[in-house]
Symmetry: C2
Subunit: 560 residues, 2 copies
């Protein structure tokens, strides 16, 4: 057995050994054919009390602990148990540190008992973290076998298993309990989640499909209620693709609203497109809770990249006021490059009708061609010709998954982008942003409110969750990274093989469109969640959370 295989296997064994024996699922896990959806299936291994605790949202959890109704310890144990089960069903964890979490929870309970108050706004809340965060006591492999026993691939830094990322420090200070790090794809650059440790993270709603990526472990874990809220990063859709695929919520803030420094990443220092850090959760209030709490910790005093923008209650209130009158949403049914599959097209229409039922207005969104943004972003990911990711692969000689070979080849390219070429791409990006902003402003002439469009809606992807190996188009999420707009994802419906049939009049825009269209199979996709994105201007997180909440509630009503 190749050295990397045994190293990977050894690490996986060590991690899995941290699951208490009584939490192991007895017998064989049923196949995807036998048990497609495991979101309900998981309940049989939990007590009624554990189900009660794990099936409310983060806002309710902290309220129950703060009122003294629940103890941090029992909450932590319940989520540890459910996360362990989730991992056995869909392979969503990289690192497990239940013991440290339970000890932290006990300390929080002691604090609460002694002081009669909580440590902070997240007191006792279990929070899961994508395996880019550094947490003391555990590895940060980011899915690379060669990173075992190192700090981001470097030996003898004195930092591995000791150093913690800035946001980890803040989360602890706010009272959160950290207990798992979740799976992601090799290199981070994929809408699926796979690596030589966990293999493949499946979609818990439909195990024939992908859990999305790169924050796929977060998506799957939260969908299974193994975590009430977690954090991922997003440079091309990496919190939005998994939220969408797994039927949960997320918000991708504008870059540098939340502290991303000190996280492991790929191609660190590429700064044409800046990644964002954002929460994934089972409700919108849960996202507001963590977002607001983190900003209250003044991250700009500790991460030099974070912009000094506290949570703006006034923007939240102003948006609620605005919503009492008529709002105008732009709607983009498709981006002119790849046609959304039938369930996705239906989700857009559900949202449109919810908007109209509320008395708000939907107008067509016809911005500068998104394909230009896709090119700018793909360029940025290619600057170094794959040198950085191949350096990490070569530390162990591990297998490179075909999805990654498609983007970065078998080895690094001989030449890299030059400074002048990179600068030209930066200028293109800035000019595109400006054109987009001008377009947005120009909608003031068609809304009838005197204001430009308040927010706009587009599919989260052309498919619901993707079929393994077939995440062939990222344009629907990439756009928001290029223009750096705040973007929320809300679940809308699920694919229904009887309703979502292929439109016979379909005509392909191009070869990729045809390829993506051909991947639709009503039978295979049946039951997969479908979401939309709600996009606001840069740094309008407070506003977009309100608008997402309004649409989320309205969709619920139309569904009934």
């Amino acid at each position: 057995m190749a050295d990397w295989k045994s190293k990977a296997r050894e690490h996986v064994s060590e991690v899995n050994a941290l699951i208490p024996k009584e939490w192991l699922i007895p017998g064989t896990i049923p196949s995807a054919d036998d048990q497609r959806d495991v979101t309900g299936y998981i309940r049989q291994f939990l007590t009624a009390r554990e189900i009660d605790i794990t099936e409310v949202d983060a806002a309710s959890i902290v309220a129950n602990i703060a009122s003294g109704a629940w103890k941090a310890k029992e909450v932590t144990e319940a989520f540890c148990h459910r996360a362990a089960l989730a991992h056995q069903l869909v392979h969503c964890l990289h690192e497990i540190f239940f013991e440290a979490a339970i000890a932290d929870a006990e300390r929080l309970d002691d604090y609460f008992e002694k002081k009669g108050k909580t440590l902070g706004p997240l007191h006792g809340l279990p929070v899961s973290l994508k395996d880019q965060f550094h947490v003391k006591g555990v590895e940060s492999t980011m899915g690379y076998v060669g990173w075992l026993g190192t700090f981001q691939g470097k030996k003898d830094t004195g930092k591995d298993k000791v150093f913690e990322s800035e946001m980890v420090r803040e989360l602890r200070e706010l009272g959160a309990v950290l207990y798992v790090k979740t799976s992601l794809p090799q290199t981070l650059i994929s809408g699926e989640t796979f690596n030589n440790f966990i293999g493949y993270t499946n979609n818990p709603h439909n195990r024939h499909l992908a859990a999305g990526g790169s924050s796929g472990g977060e998506g799957a874990l939260i969908a299974l209620r193994g975590s009430p809220v977690g954090f991922g990063t997003d440079i091309a859709g990496s919190v939005r693709m998994p939220a969408s695929a797994n039927g949960i919520y997320t918000i991708k803030p504008s870059a540098n609203r939340l502290p991303i420094s000190d996280l492991a990443t790929s191609m660190d220092g590429q700064n044409t497109i800046m990644a964002s850090i954002g929460p994934l959760a089972t409700s919108i209030p849960a996202m507001r809770l963590v977002f607001r709490s983190l900003l209250a910790a003044k991250p700009w005093l500790y991460d030099p990249q974070v912009v000094e923008l506290p949570y703006r209650d006034e923007l939240e209130l102003e948006t609620r006021e605005l919503a009492k009158g008529q709002l105008v949403f732009g709607i983009m049914e498709h981006d002119g490059v790849v046609t959304p599959h039938p369930p996705v097209a239906r989700a857009i229409e559900i949202v449109r009708s919810a908007i109209e039922k509320l008395g708000h207005k939907a107008v067509k969104w016809s911005p500068p061609a998104h394909i230009r943004a896709v090119e700018i972003l793909v360029n940025a990911l290619q600057y170094d010709g794959g040198l950085d990711v191949h350096n990490s692969f070569s530390l162990s000689g591990e297998r490179v998954y075909p999805q990654i070979k498609g983007l970065y080849g078998e080895k690094p390219k001989d030449t890299q982008w030059t400074a002048s070429e990179i600068a030209a791409n930066n200028v293109r990006s800035r000019e595109y942003q400006k054109e987009y902003l001008d377009y947005w402003n120009s909608t003031a002439t068609i809304t009838g409110t005197g204001r430009p469009v308040d927010a706009w809606i587009l599919p989260a992807a052309p498919f619901t969750a993707a079929r393994p190996g077939r995440y062939d188009y990222y344009g629907y999420t990439m756009i928001a990274n290029v223009v750096d707009y705040t973007t929320a994802v809300i679940p809308v419906t699920v694919a229904d093989k009887d309703v979502d049939v292929k439109n016979a009049t379909y005509q392909a825009f191009n070869d990729i469109d045809r390829k993506v269209w051909d991947s639709y199979d009503a039978e295979i996709y049946h039951g997969a969640p479908v979401a939309v994105q709600i996009v606001g201007r840069r740094f309008e997180e407070e506003k977009i959370l309100v608008l997402a909440e309004i649409l989320d509630k309205a969709i619920g009503k139309t569904e009934v």
Copy 2:
């Protein structure tokens, strides 16, 4: 005569022909030996009324116009006249558009008369602009002969002499009157101001010395009161060096606080170090006026790079409150690389004693070595091996000044920085910023206030104004660009040959230090202005304007 020479000469003739004959200085301009300081000398060519108008600050000007006491037209004419005289004395203008300015002023007067109110907060205020701004009707050469008749070196874009930069649009909307574009050095990358149009911009306080750069024309023009306020850009000190050299005020905001998009620049798309746009003025209230007015125009809705941070009155007020108690300032006498000349060292002591007289506290500022920041910034300016600037030179084949050859050679380098090398420099920059922030936070343990240091002080340069061809060290200004801190410059004193004698115990840190030290000559520098920088955290412009005001007033008192 070479083609570029005749083109340059022709353009200069056309520009100078726009100066009314009656505004030409009769006879010969006296030599620097005969008339070192022309700041008072210029008055003889002005009426008493013109002197009254041009020697108050921008805040008083708009107040006088808004009250109806002054007309926009007479204010504009007075500044046009004085700017024309200034240009004849120190060569500080690239473009003149007095006629358009006077027509604009007349329209403003009409508006005021008809509506009984001002158009905006800058109604009737003449504002000068560095020749990176695009203004309709005039060239934007940025000092390149080859850019004549083009848009940033490109032909047939349809934009030249038509397109206006975003901030120009906003200034007009706020009621400002635009009338001149000011000189800058070829490439922008110099602390002196020279090019094949204007030759050299001299320091009006001491024409043996440089006016600074790259916003040297702004510095000289404002020192001569040919403008009450103007705008420059700063990527390594380009508003601070000229403000310091010319005895005026400036603030370099953090990047992307004010809209810089659509300005001509060098190496556009280099985004390791982002340039800032900032005002230069004859008072701090003048800077606050334009800063606040521009933010009221919500530039983030028009420039996608601008952060959504309105002017924060609460931060201004909070700082004023804080100042009623004890403030603590860090003081950095030197950066350990280059020793400040005697007048500069004396200026620091004047500020220290002002701080202490006010009952505030001064502590030693000992941050991470500034030389590391200097290296990061110099790297960023070298990424393309000079290709961009040499492309602009080669459009005309014009003479490249020796100061530029020192940095960019006779021709572009054969190789550029690779994507990986640039990414590594970006990571170094981010890590340095983080270390600096950690250091700043750590000062909470020594201030005695429980807070970290409120702001810190350092020289604006090792010299007062530099001697031509001898601007040999930029470290004192570069630091604030690397950490992206808000930095104000306030004038403190003037060099005095009887007081500012070389310290006999001087020991060189290194060869550059020796070279800079050797350039000090008490006789030559006599009368040159000396300034200090006051540095705040990122985006703390409101706070730093208050602290600068407090120190500025206190220095005045100690000077009396």
